[in-house]
């Protein structure tokens, strides 16, 4: 279980995250929503120890992040940053294999190879496996990074805008893959998604941030309400029912 205790983040004198305290559910897809600059990436990066909070602490499975050995934590939690970029020219297969690094420390076992093959398979990028990542399209590269996170096979998977650059079909595929990981491998997935209808259809639980404050949290159903969404995004949003799910309309 992951919980945050009153975490704040200050850049120079500006507070971009203000006293976020919450207990995050497990075994679910948990969506983080909020407008640009609301503090979603900052929160995810603090939870995954990539940046230290200015105040407060994060507890993962009963231990503060600062007390975790970083190598051990990498077997429990992985984060895929918002638009990861690298000039390094490596093949898709090498990239995905690096997901096994926390387990293998460079000495690949048959288990690792199986995990890599499976990650390539379920993300549907087997045919790209010998291509260099700097020669892929933006969406293909995004899929390769997602495959790396899947190969890491951690209990908690944090994905910051994984649908970036992906077409609708691929986006649906990734969300379904997350559902599968949650159901079959009891993973807990934290994901930042901007398209609110993807949240409505695939997320189990939602955290909504506004101006660095965790303003709403709850089951997806309870967040998909026009007054809440209008408040979060500062535009009028109409919510309709469609086949038992909520669908948000914000085009004017």
């Amino acid at each position: 279980m992951i919980s945050t205790e009153n975490i704040s983040k200050k850049y120079r004198s500006e507070l971009v995250l203000k006293g976020v305290s919450t207990i995050l559910p497990t075994g679910k897809i948990i969506a983080f929503i909020g407008s640009n600059g609301a503090g979603k990436s900052t929160l995810l990066n603090i939870i995954s120890r990539l940046i230290p909070p200015s105040e407060g602490s994060v507890v993962i499975d009963g231990k503060k992040t600062s007390l975790w050995n970083t190598g051990d934590l990498a077997k429990t939690l992985t984060i895929l940053g918002q638009s990861p970029q690298s000039e390094t020219r490596i093949t898709v297969k090498d990239l995905v294999s690096f997901g096994r690094f926390p387990h293998s420390n460079g000495e690949t076992t048959p288990d690792d190879e199986r995990a890599v093959a499976e990650a390539l398979n379920i993300t549907g990028i087997e045919t790209l496996k010998d291509r260099y990542i700097d020669e892929l399209s933006g969406g293909q590269r995004q899929m390769a990074y997602i495959a790396m996170s899947v190969a890491q096979d951690t209990k908690y998977i944090l994905l910051d805008e994984p649908l970036n650059n992906l077409d609708m079909g691929r986006s649906v595929k990734i969300m379904k893959l997350m559902q599968k990981l949650v159901k079959e491998k009891s993973k807990t997935i934290f994901v930042v998604v901007h398209d609110i209808n993807f949240v409505s259809f695939y997320a189990d639980y939602v955290l909504a941030l506004k101006d660095g404050i965790l303003k709403y949290q709850g089951e997806t159903e309870s967040i998909m309400r026009p007054e809440i969404l209008s408040d979060i995004y500062d535009i009028d949003i109409t919510v309709e029912n469609y086949r038992g799910k909520k669908i948000c309309i914000y085009y004017k």
């Binding site: 990498a74 990861p84 970029q85 000039e87 390094t88 490596i90 093949t91 690094f101 926390p102 020669e135």
Partner: protein, 317 residues
């Protein structure tokens, strides 16, 4: 493994050429009828020279490869980061402080000064990194220029300029048995680089990716810098400044085989050895029976390739 086989043949042929070129008469056909004088030439001069060329070429290329990964910049190398210049300053400091300094002491001086200098470079590079990938090597070259000026100034002041000249231009012609063996310490360092290969590649993908994969980013970068400065120091003390090898070799290999350190370490070492060997042979035959210092030839070739790399189209949008 046909590729490996080809590489071996190429290196072996270059090595044979290297052994049988020189003022003293020595020919492959006479190899079984050598007199003791000829055996001496081989064992005191030709073989040590060959070995030092191979080790220096291979280890400097590996150093460049490591540096490019940990700085995340393919234009950085011991030459363009100024590391070689810091090494020279260190050697000079060692000579001034202890005129009778042994080679080991000189390596130590070079290492201490170049490690500090390279950390300084990394700190400055971190500050200017976002303003363009080209700026980082330019800063390194500029700092190297300043350091070089300081070295020259002190060399004049303490009247050791003659002594220093040997380090200004790398030169394999002074290598003889007994004065180059220090270079062999670079060999285990290359094995250490292989041990850390994946870690260097992952560090090259950025601090966040490296941390998410459980690496201690800072310590990997530091280990890399120590390896690079030790290799550079050993080379500068052993044979002098061999420029641009660490820059061009990993870049050329990268075009064909990518950047994964584990996959290309052997190719990089091989190509570095072959390139320096080829240049060394060229230096000895161009104005035969005289010799051009290899630093001159490599500077010319290296700066043209560097220009080519700078103007190469970026590979992705």
């Amino acid at each position: 493994m046909p590729a490996f086989f080809v590489q071996f043949i190429v290196l072996a042929m270059l090595a044979l050429c290297s052994l049988f070129i020189g003022v003293a008469d020595l020919s492959p056909s006479g190899i079984f009828r050598m007199n003791s004088e000829q055996i001496d030439i081989l064992s005191i001069s030709r073989i040590p020279r060959l070995c030092s060329v191979i080790v220096a070429g291979a280890s400097l290329s590996v150093a460049g490869l490591i540096m490019q990964r940990i700085t995340r910049n393919r234009f950085v190398s011991p030459t363009t980061a100024g590391t070689m210049e810091w090494c020279k300053l260190g050697v000079m400091a060692a000579i001034i402080c202890m005129p009778e300094a042994s080679s080991a002491m000189r390596v130590f001086g070079a290492f201490a000064v170049s490690l500090a200098g390279t950390f300084f470079f990394m700190a400055v590079a971190g500050k200017v990194q976002n303003r363009g990938i080209i700026l980082v090597p330019l800063v390194g070259i500029m700092m190297g220029g300043v350091v070089n000026a300081c070295s020259t100034f002190f060399a004049y002041k303490y009247d050791i300029i003659q002594n220093m000249a040997a380090w200004l231009q790398g030169n394999f012609s002074l290598v003889i048995a007994g004065n180059y063996e220090l270079l062999y310490f670079s060999v285990p360092l290359m094995f250490a680089a292989y041990f850390y290969a994946d870690r260097f590649t992952i560090a090259g993908m950025g601090k966040n990716t490296a941390t998410s994969l459980g690496l201690n980013y800072k310590s990997i970068v530091n280990i890399g810098l120590v390896l690079v400065t030790v290799i550079s120091s050993i080379t500068v003390v052993g044979v002098g400044n061999i420029p641009f090898v660490g820059l061009v070799v990993p870049n050329i290999i990268s075009i064909f085989k990518g950047d994964s350190v584990k996959n290309i370490l052997w190719d990089t070492a091989w190509f570095g050895a072959a390139l320096v060997l080829l240049c060394d042979i060229a230096c000895r035959v161009i104005i035969y029976p005289y010799e051009i210092p290899i630093g001159v030839v490599l500077s010319i070739i290296g700066s043209f390739i560097f220009l080519g790399l700078l103007t190469r189209k970026p590979r992705h949008a």
